[in-house]
Symmetry: D2
Subunit: 326 residues, 4 copies
């Protein structure tokens, strides 16, 4: 599961796209199955990236059976990093973790051109795969057609495989199913991270793309079990920054068909997961990281730290689910 195996079916469809895919036509697709924490970016008191603390986190994370790391997903506060910081963080992560850990780096920008440039730079900086969020500022015009054009151009120019990224809570936009199905035929687009959590949609996408070896990752620990039940190959889970062993344990139970135990564990992860995502956001995630021995700390402004009351509530959620003593 954690190695990088071939999906021969994908090699067959490279003729579907007109743009010559010089570097990719003969390249077998990568397996992206498994669990990935979308790592947080620690900052110093002056809101500068704290590479030392980042390194410490990665050292600890390497003891868990993660498939790799998502660098600059939404939880990495990528929207608050400069272009140079985004690349430097990827470089540092690449240096800090073993080669067999896959680096999936967020390279999405609003314009197609900027996304292509960032994608190429991310690959140069050590990314094995790029994770490309939907552009969304002009969401009223981000039709299926516009998004298919965008991703096709990006994938045509990317030196590494592309994973689509749909995160409606942040973008206000769900990458339409028909666009995903069309894009799944591109030989350099190997999967989707779906953070919307609509399990019916996720099942449908898998149904319509699995013959091409297209791989879907659940974008949250809240529906990780349900995702596996309908055919997802893994998950990118903010909660894995905090409860990495437990999220990997849930994966293992699902892969081994131990659904009853999986259900019990999944149940206890839902509330903590919602707490570090929807409810308290990245400030909540970083607070919980601190409690579990990782470097969380402050967020960049305008994200505010939690209030005392929020910290209490967050702690209570971890406590009643049995992950912290009160």
């Amino acid at each position: 599961m954690f190695g990088r195996t071939l999906f021969p079916a994908r090699a067959l469809c490279s003729g579907l796209f007109k743009t010559p895919l010089r570097t990719l036509a003969t390249r077998p697709a990568l397996s992206i199955g498994g669990i990935y924490p979308p790592i947080a970016t620690p900052f110093t008191d002056k809101e500068e990236v704290d590479y030392g603390k980042l390194h410490e986190n990665l050292q600890k994370y390497c003891s868990f059976p993660f498939s790799g790391f998502v660098v600059q997903g939404s939880n990495g506060e990528y929207a608050y990093l400069t272009r140079e910081e985004r690349l430097e963080v990827v470089r540092r992560v690449r240096q800090a973790v073993p080669k067999e850990k896959l680096i999936m780096a967020g390279s999405g920008c609003e314009s197609t051109q900027a996304t292509i440039e960032m994608t190429v730079e991310m690959a140069r900086s050590g990314a094995d795969v790029v994770l490309v969020v939907t552009p969304s500022y002009y969401r009223g015009k981000m039709t299926s057609s516009a998004l298919v054009h965008h991703y096709t151009k990006v994938a045509d120019h990317s030196p590494v495989p592309v994973v689509l990224y749909s995160v409606p809570a942040n973008t206000g936009l769900d990458l339409p199913v028909d666009a995903v199905v069309t894009l799944s035929q591109h030989p350099n687009i190997i999967g989707l991270k779906d953070s919307g959590g609509d399990i019916t949609r996720i099942g449908l996408i898998i149904h319509k793309t699995k013959h091409l070896g297209f791989q879907v990752l659940s974008g949250s620990a809240g529906f990780l079990l349900a995702g596996y039940s309908v055919g997802a190959v893994g998950g990118v889970c903010a909660l894995a920054n905090v409860l990495g062993a437990q999220v990997c344990e849930l994966e293992k139970l699902c892969l081994n068909g131990r659904w009853q135990e999986a259900k019990e564990l999944q149940h206890r992860l839902i509330e903590p997961n919602s707490a570090v995502t929807r409810k308290f956001g990245i400030p909540g995630l970083k607070q919980a990281m601190d409690w579990f021995g990782f470097n969380g700390g402050k967020c960049r402004s305008p994200l505010l730290p939690l209030t005392e009351q929020e910290i209490k509530e967050l702690r209570h959620i971890f406590t009643v689910n049995g992950w912290l003593s009160s």
Copy 2:
């Protein structure tokens, strides 16, 4: 699974509510596990209820291993029936089907008083359980607190067990998790039909109520497998009006832990299910029923029949998923 067993845990919590529950305190809760079609209401050309055609449908449905029937869920066009029609349909269904088939009748109205009256009448007309949709017209004021009051009063006065019903696509309102958790402690509220499809929410509700024997039903065939994976006990599935055997087969695969086969079958049901619900609504459901040998026919106005183009598209969806030949 299909019988009616005891949930002894539920007997313990009757002290939580102040209102004396004369008829219920010693009454064991009903199992509502299994598959239920929310039956459609056939009409004559003059838009009158066609009880003959309804009877024919029920005769055919009785050959499937359904646990029972939901009468006047949203798919029954209950919003378009008069009070007397709503009751008469329940009476006819009760007469037409064997006693071991559970009748779950929709009794929700906007006001608490009207809901109580309809609930009592439904029980008199043969309902084993009432399914009570959230009142929603003044949704801005339908807070957790208001909904807890409403359902508590209804359950206090209901001669039969109550199942909560959350269907945000129709009501614009999701019954809040905290309200469900509070209401799950009422001895006469035995479960929830959740049609929203947010599997994270469904898992959380099950997690927080299972110690009380509270039972959750998936409100759609689109996430039936995922529902079972997180602990739902069955489903109320519009698609069961059309593909009853297949939906029951999916249930069986899930209950027997044959998840791989379940996944394959689930995948093929998603699009047909979406087609007869979200995409084409009740007119789509009734059209598909006609194709599969049931009496569908026209809807009451203002629901329009499908256009030629829509019928084509609907047929295509059933065809590409292997349920109809083209």
Copy 3:
């Protein structure tokens, strides 16, 4: 403004509809300009309609220059009244107020047939005009086409003129502009009450229908001035139940082109208006009515009374805007 004048342009378009309009073809349209309170329904302690208190309110309201009364708009808790109560309230209002006061009665139901029947009964009970809310339970299928069919049938059968009613806060549905434009050509559909508050949309509807004498009423005091500025002929304003003289004064200022004074008055009405609608709903409206000498009282369940804290906040809003002393 308050009389009933002719809109000769409307007589010309009766040929557009195929259904014979026996009773209406030669009937000149009614002017519905002016201010209408959508009256609240007082209840006794046992939640029964309190006709005595209703009568008292109407006596007081008759001292204001209202054009008439909306009976069973959303603020009348019509969704919580039985069919018979709805009709009886209209009868009582008709008896209580002078003939020159126009009675606009809400007759919308979910099905077309039920709406027609209620419309006919409302007319018999004394309604001069019916106000027909969009059916909305199956809102996914309430397309322009379905709504045009619905309203056309209702208008064909209505003995009195029909006013369309779009109130997305309650129905989750905005009657589409193109449907309004089509329906404005029906000789028995004379206007629209628009409670959505999108002033661009309101301006556009007026622009596209004014050649037919179609009349638009603002559905709230919050945008009454803006409504007049783009061509609305009046307003149905919950706040007029509380501050009737002031809302009529605002109308007068607008009609007389005293926009500067109108602006000052409008500004002071926005927050109180929001407080008795969006923010605190009908319980807020009734509380404020009590303060200003009208019979408000309790709502029917499941609407809850305001909490102490909410009452304080409501009072504060009326105080800072200069309508109550603290």
Copy 4:
């Protein structure tokens, strides 16, 4: 109206903020009344900024009585420009237009720090005022409190006055009224561009901030008249890129109290305005600019050009409203 006059009231409130406002305490606020086109950015065939065509547009625009120009509002495709391009466009506009034309430059970024840096650079590049859009990627945590902190820091460090910018269609976020009211007390925050179009909200904001000389601009020509009616001081109108004279004429009619004529003109501008904003977006705006003698052209990818059918529909809208012959 078009000059830059003093708002002495604003000088009084500089004591409210702890951060010393060295450069601003004694600086009188600027009047931002009047009409501003949010200028489009022309591109070459290779999607590079076409400064020559931009210059030509500006030359033509200078014949209209605009108060100034918004550079890099949403219609300027600022989200698709690099940092350097954003600054260079501002420099070029500053050089091309007379000094009395006010340059309002969009300087919003996601992080507070990046916004401050861009703000300072914009001022250096010639901006008289900065227009700061709400950060929105982590919108779930962009509470009133977070936004007040963000804008306060930006305004503390900005060498030029700040205008708040709320554009929910693009950001999925409406700057809350209470945040606007708090921020209106900052001596360096002089106004708000509100593109949401909720006229009740706009009236309320004006009511609660006018004693401080806070200035509100309507963010669209669709509700320009209504905006003036409730006290807005001008508008930033995409349509002014196409029908500049007409939008300025509408302003003049409003300022001179000729409301009847204003209404007639406003009516004819609503549909063309919606067409070049909501309906067809920037590609529609640029297409219409081409028809009216300005340089529109293509957008940057992923924005797609209009289809033939869309172009027809756009032309029809301008034609039926009397702005183009068919």
